[in-house]
């Protein structure tokens, strides 16, 4: 594959290896995510799913490998990338309001020294409406349920108005209302031609929710369109291999 071909791909990963202390967490990962699709990354616990997102975004150091976004480097493409981290990575007792958190999504566009103003406030409010949280805009974030907190993170990512989104386990431990809301947002993004890469844990729903599937267990076991990739043979190789190594 040459570079000119990949320029249209929202994400291309080549030979990505991440080593934590002695143990390889990701090994020689090659990945090509097609544009305008909802793409899931699935694998057993400890398969390196979250690490893959973080390594791609430069949040953990890579031992080797290269990553292109729309054929560009991370630095060049930064403004087109949105990230939704796992919910439990932040202190929800932090003294800030729902609207404030959503406005953080606009900090990248604001750049240094400029403060968010009325325009940013309105943009953030609009994003909150998309996840039906506009009524809670001025609540302290600790007063939200887990599902509502997840939706706030989603709204923050929407505020970024990116072309490529990475979401780390957005469906983990949320209520049915939130699950539905997240799905709606995902489909809304897809209809706008955006690409979404989601780390997912639920094999029951993955087929129904996503178009593209990557099965990961330290290495990429299989990656491709859902119908071709979601086979029992591939799943056995993904989850069975884990069981064999005693992980």
């Amino acid at each position: 594959m040459t570079l000119t071909q990949t320029a249209t791909l929202p994400l291309e990963v080549r030979d990505l290896t991440v080593v934590y202390r002695e143990q390889p967490v990701l090994w020689d990962v090659d990945l090509a995510i097609p544009p305008g699709q909802l793409s899931a990354i699935v694998g057993p616990n400890g398969a390196g799913k979250s690490t893959l997102l973080k390594a791609v975004l430069g949040l953990v150091p890579r031992a080797s490998g290269q990553v292109w976004f729309f054929g560009q480097s991370l630095r060049e493409a930064r403004a087109r990338i949105g990230y939704v981290p796992q919910r439990n990575t932040v202190d929800w007792d932090f003294p800030t309001s729902v609207l404030d958190v959503v406005m953080m999504g606009l900090y990248g566009q604001l750049g240094w020294f400029r403060r968010p103003g009325k325009r940013e406030r309105e943009a953030a409010m609009h994003c909150l409406e998309q996840v039906s949280l506009q009524d809670l805009a001025h609540r302290q974030i600790a007063q939200l349920s887990g599902g509502q907190q997840q939706r706030v993170f989603l709204a923050r990512a929407l505020a970024q108005n990116a072309d490529l989104y990475f979401m780390d386990e957005p469906f983990a431990g949320v209520d049915a209302v939130t699950e539905e809301a997240i799905l709606q947002v995902l489909h809304g993004l897809k209809s706008q031609g955006k690409t979404v890469v989601v780390v997912h844990h639920d094999l029951e729903t993955v087929r129904e929710y996503f178009d593209h599937l990557t099965l990961l267990n330290v290495q990429v076991i299989a990656s491709g369109p859902m119908e071709e990739t979601f086979t029992s043979e591939n799943l056995r190789r993904t989850y069975g291999a884990k069981a064999r190594t005693g992980g």
């Binding site: 080549r14 080593v19 020689d28 330290v218």
Partner: protein, 362 residues
């Protein structure tokens, strides 16, 4: 009696007693809690001093300090439990308040007496040979008796409850379910820390006692993961700090306790840099080796995929490597016998091919 000998043995007793309990403080993540306790010892001693009518007796001071220590621990735990303040903030709130009370009381009521603030800071280990008492017809330094008893007490505690301490340190929940009362052990440990702090208070001062409680065990922690070894190493580091600190203090005519803390800090720095376990420089070297190993494997795997020889330019473009790094990786692969140099270029050996692409790196 030789004053040097008295001072050095006192220091060794202080550091041994401290290292024994300090090891568990480090493992239980209570290092800064004991910092708070050692500060709070001051108001405890002042209170005891005041209640006992101005006599500087050891027993009331011990009791006062233990009480102050327990008050500190309970206050910090209570504040944390309210959920309004995080544990570290709670520590940082409680000890300055208590210490301020102590300083205030000293400057209001005990200005001209023994309890001057210098003693709080430096301790008076230099006076250890002067404070003696008669026992069994022998004139012995008081510090030997106090610190000897404390060392013995801490040693007995660690030996008798070794199993329980170990269990409750690593898994408090399991210890509780087995009926080992980790809460009681916790408070017993805290009381011993307070005792040690006040016993050592006369020798090294309230604030520097933390150096003896934390630095040697933390140094040992960098060097080993086995509890008995850690205890022994901690005591060893304490002894080294005592001897080295004393020598330096005499040479420079500076505070003995301060120098001992300094030497302990130097020991820690050495362990941080050179520990075979996770020393900074050791890990650096290992990381480099590891990165090369990974790179060499990637290189071999890449070459094994291609039937024709691959040019260096292509490889560098493929992996985004610098020429120097590629050379090192190739060297590594050649050394490991994964590659061999042929006329047409590099070629994976059978061992290199057998390496496979699997994640089964050592």
């Amino acid at each position: 009696m030789n004053p040097d000998l008295v001072i050095v043995t006192t220091a060794i007793l202080v550091s041994s007693a401290s290292a024994l309990v300090g090891t568990f403080l480090v493992l239980r993540r209570m290092a800064l809690l004991c910092d708070a306790i050692s500060h709070a010892v001051l108001p405890g001693i002042v209170l005891a001093y005041w209640l006992s009518g101005g006599a500087r007796a050891t027993l009331p001071a011990l009791l006062g300090a233990a009480a102050a220590g327990l008050v500190t621990v309970s206050l910090v735990e209570w504040l944390t439990r309210t959920g309004r303040v995080k544990n570290d903030a709670a520590i940082g709130i409680v000890f300055p308040a208590l210490f301020s009370l102590g300083v205030l009381a000293v400057s209001l009521y005990f200005r001209q007496v023994h309890l001057d603030l210098d003693a709080v800071l430096y301790g008076e280990i230099a006076y250890a040979p002067l404070n003696t008492l008669w026992l069994w017809g022998l004139e012995l330094p008081e510090s030997w008796l106090v610190m000897g008893l404390l060392t013995l007490l801490n040693l007995l505690f660690v030996l008798l409850f070794y199993k329980e301490l170990k269990l409750s340190t690593f898994d408090a929940g399991l210890a509780a379910s087995l009926g080992f009362a980790p809460g009681v052990l916790h408070y017993a440990l805290m009381a011993l820390v307070s005792f040690t702090a006040v016993g050592a208070f006369q020798s090294v001062g309230a604030i520097l006692i933390v150096a003896f409680l934390i630095i040697p065990p933390a140094t040992a922690y960098l060097l080993t993961r086995r509890l008995p070894t850690m205890l022994l190493l901690a005591v060893g580091v304490g002894v080294v700090a005592s001897l080295g600190g004393y020598a330096l203090a005499i040479w420079l005519d500076a505070s003995i306790a301060g120098m001992m803390a300094t030497v302990a800090g130097v020991c820690f720095a050495l362990a941080f840099l050179f520990s075979p376990l996770e020393g900074f420089l050791t890990t650096r070297l290992r990381r480099r080796r590891q990165r090369l190993e990974v790179a060499a494997r990637l290189l071999v795997a890449h070459l094994a995929h291609h039937p024709q020889p691959v040019s260096e330019q292509e490889i560098m473009a493929e992996f985004g490597w610098h020429p120097r790094f590629l050379r090192q990786a190739r060297e590594k692969a050649l050394q490991a016998g994964w590659l061999e140099a042929r006329r047409e270029g590099l070629w994976p050996t059978s061992r290199g091919r057998a390496l496979g692409q699997g994640p089964s790196v050592p």
